[in-house]
Amino acid sequence: MNSIRVISILLSGFLYLLFQILVLKNLVLFGTAFCFLYVTYIILLPLDIKTIPVLLISFFLGIGVDLFYDTLGIHTAALLVIAFIRHRWLLVLVPTGGYEDDLQPSMLNMGLGWFLSYSVPLILIHHVLFFYIESLGTDLFLTSLQKVIASVIFVLVMSIIVQLLFYRRRRGI
């Protein structure tokens, strides 16, 4: 892994953070559908990044988002869980022939069906954790459930759009 690649990965994380806090923070559809697009960034990190760097990246990304959302630690806690189980989940879903080393597990590289089965559980876990920690101590079970479901759908649609617009299919396949 050369340094240009490292920098471009970190830079794209920074762009996700900026986009999240400046634009998506004010975008809540129907009062229930939040768009936590930064989760997509962690999900789409290339496979050759080991769990420990992923954990560190998600810690700082989570803190950054938390700072601006005034939800200190909640985004971080939810994002860290995803970063932790991402690698194991990828091993469960390994296709015949295995992964290539520096593959990006995106929809363009792996197909829509595989991408959905990979990302939906991760996004769902993140959102369930976030909304239930956030409303801890209140009796808002159904409201939070509504928010979780609406947001998961919204984030999925947004992440597919972002991949179609900004990500490249792997050349040579």
Binding site: I52, L67, T76
Partner: protein
């Protein structure tokens, strides 16, 4: 191992941030996020100028008419009865640079901080009604707990019969809140105005909170279940006033020495 460590840090941050007032560093009032929000609001503000102007005009007209009523005729004299009652509150204007209303614990950020005399615990209102309380302060920015925060209680009373209770948001609809601890024998009419009680000197007396739109017996055997429509439109807040009370310190120390907890 690293996961456990980082997760533990995150959880300890959540727990430490849960206290209502405190000077946490990691929130939107620190200089970095404050200046980002300031830049953003400098750009976005132009789009809301006309509605801001309109609300300021309305407030101005209301204040002018009140001033007219207070103006003394030329042949009258004025004898102050108790000068201690004068000017117990002072107001400071500030601009909202960040706002949320869809979470269950919402906050605002304003562009005034300790350099401008903002302190934690101060009340925040706008021309429509109550907005919230200051949570933490940095030099140039402060974070405010919005009234739309499931843990903020505002001491309030029903204007027509002076019965008092506490207003609390239930986390569902950002235009509605609950008035709690109103006993069952009280007659509450739909359309009654609910205002701040002025008991704890965070807010002056009589700042509007909302109007009663629903009264139900409720599940609690002692208290009514009252729903308010909030007067403050939280989706359109752009300027707020901070309430500085000169009696706050004295009242607090009195409460403390007598063992009465505030709120």
């Amino acid at each position: 191992m690293l996961f456990v460590l980082l997760e533990a840090i995150a959880i300890s941050l959540i727990v430490s941030n849960n206290t209502q007032q405190g000077s946490a560093f990691f929130n939107s009032s620190n200089e970095l996020s404050g200046s980002v929000f300031q830049t953003q609001s400098n750009i976005v503000d132009y789009f809301s100028l006309s509605s801001v102007n309109k609300s300021l005009m309305e407030k101005n007209a209301q204040l002018l008419s009140e001033l007219e009523a207070l103006r003394k005729p030329a042949d009258s004299i004025f004898i102050p009865l108790d000068t201690a009652m004068y000017a117990t509150m002072q107001f400071k204007g500030a601009k909202v640079i960040n706002n949320s209303l869809r979470l269950s614990q919402n906050h605002l950020t304003i562009n005034k901080g300790s350099n401008h005399g903002v302190r934690t615990g101060m009340g925040v209102i706008n021309e429509q009604g109550v907005v919230g309380r200051v949570k933490s302060v940095s030099r140039n920015f402060s974070t405010i707990i919005s009234l739309l925060h499931t843990e903020l209680l505002v001491s309030s009373k029903i204007q027509t019969n002076d019965v008092f209770g506490s207003t609390k948001w239930d986390g569902l609809n950002p235009q509605q809140a609950k008035l709690m601890y109103v006993p069952r024998h009280v007659v509450v009419e739909i359309g009654d105005q609910v205002v701040t009680s002025g008991y704890n000197s965070i807010f002056p007396e009589g700042i509007p909170i909302g109007t009663v739109i629903e009264v139900k017996p409720g599940t609690d055997t002692n208290y009514l279940d009252i729903t308010l429509k909030l007067d403050t439109d939280f989706s359109k807040i752009s300027y707020v006033y901070l309430v500085e009370s000169f009696q706050q310190k004295e009242l607090d120390s009195l409460y403390q020495s007598t063992g009465i907890s505030n709120e």
